[in-house]
Amino acid sequence: MTKMRVLLVDDEAEFVSALAERLNLRGFDVQAATSGEEALEKVNAFSPQVVVLDVLMPGMSGLEVLKRIKKTHPQVQVILLTGRGSWDGIQGIREGAYDCLMKPIQIEELMQIMTSAVESGGQNRAEEGV
């Protein structure tokens, strides 16, 4: 069975490496990036099916990264991570994110949402009526 390709993007390197390893142990093919610029390079090189993307990053923000991914790779599903709350979620979904999760996350919930995102084939959760 083909492993789901996931790109994790967060400026907190310890967070992203621990989460990457946990997802690898659960059978996902995971790469990580710690900046918006690095994330865009890896989207081109790795062709992830899902990008899990922190909203608040120094330099290029998560929302800016989201906009660019949706422009160049519209088939890639993006799940936003935020510590702030519903405003980021609303903005993100307007810009094409599939869903938004509050940090800290529960890995089981993240896996469920990533699977739904890939299976949805382009609709976000609002459009699905979830």
Binding site: E12, A18, L19, E21, R22, L25, R84, K103, P104
Partner: protein, 215 residues
């Protein structure tokens, strides 16, 4: 100028709580990874496995507790964002309950949210409302003997919103005078809110009634 000061305080507090949440996220993922390594790893005979799993469980529990506290603080910080905002009254009572319950508990008093109309909203200064309600809760908790209860609830109203802080239990000597002193000290804030604090006495439910214009 006060609004500027409050907005700054709120902004800094919100920013710091966001940073603390990131720290908790790292701890939780790291603890989760250790747990995964122990349980998903193919290695047999991991030394003291049960103890590791138990301690990791404790770490996760405390992190979730920290996140809960941080979320409450973050929400409180955001109450200072705008001097006038639309407020759901039931949510306001929940928020006060979460902010003040530990303080009440340390005085042996339980703080509860009772009947509250979920459709009731008002436009007011969120932070100042919390200040008034929080101050009254604290005074009522000081007024009750251990084992007492304070129940937050809404009462009727279309033009104005009425919030009753009901006292149940044995009261300490001199509580009424102390309550009057509190009312006096809150006079300026109440005027700014165009609100009133009055005592509610038997045959009505005993406690303090806060009335505020709905708009």
């Amino acid at each position: 100028m006060r609004d500027l000061e409050m907005a700054f305080l709120g902004k800094i507090a919100a920013s710091l709580t966001h940073e603390i949440k990131n720290t908790f996220a790292i701890i939780l993922e790291s603890a989760g990874l250790l747990s995964d390594i122990i349980t998903l790893s193919q290695e047999q005979g991991f030394p003291q496995k049960e103890k590791f799993v138990r301690v990791l469980g404790n770490i996760k529990e405390q992190v979730n507790r920290g996140v809960d506290i941080t979320t409450r603080l973050n929400r409180f910080a955001h109450s200072m964002d705008e001097p006038l905002t639309s407020i759901n009254v039931a949510d306001l009572l929940e928020q006060i309950s979460l902010l003040m319950r530990r303080l009440a508990k340390r005085r042996g008093v339980e703080l509860k949210v009772g009947a509250a109309d979920r459709d009731l909203t008002l436009r007011s200064d969120h932070f100042r409302l919390l200040l008034v309600l929080g101050s009254v809760v604290e005074q009522l908790a000081d007024s009750l003997e251990s084992g007492g209860e304070i129940i937050l609830q809404t009462q009727g109203g279309s033009q104005e919103v009425a919030i009753l802080l009901e006292m149940q239990g044995q009261k300490k000597t001199g509580w009424e005078a102390a309550l009057q002193n509190l009312f006096s000290s809150l006079q300026e804030v109440l005027e700014a809110l165009q609100a009133k604090l009055t005592r509610s006495s038997p045959p009505a439910k005993e406690g303090v009634l806060l009335t505020i214009p709905a708009t």
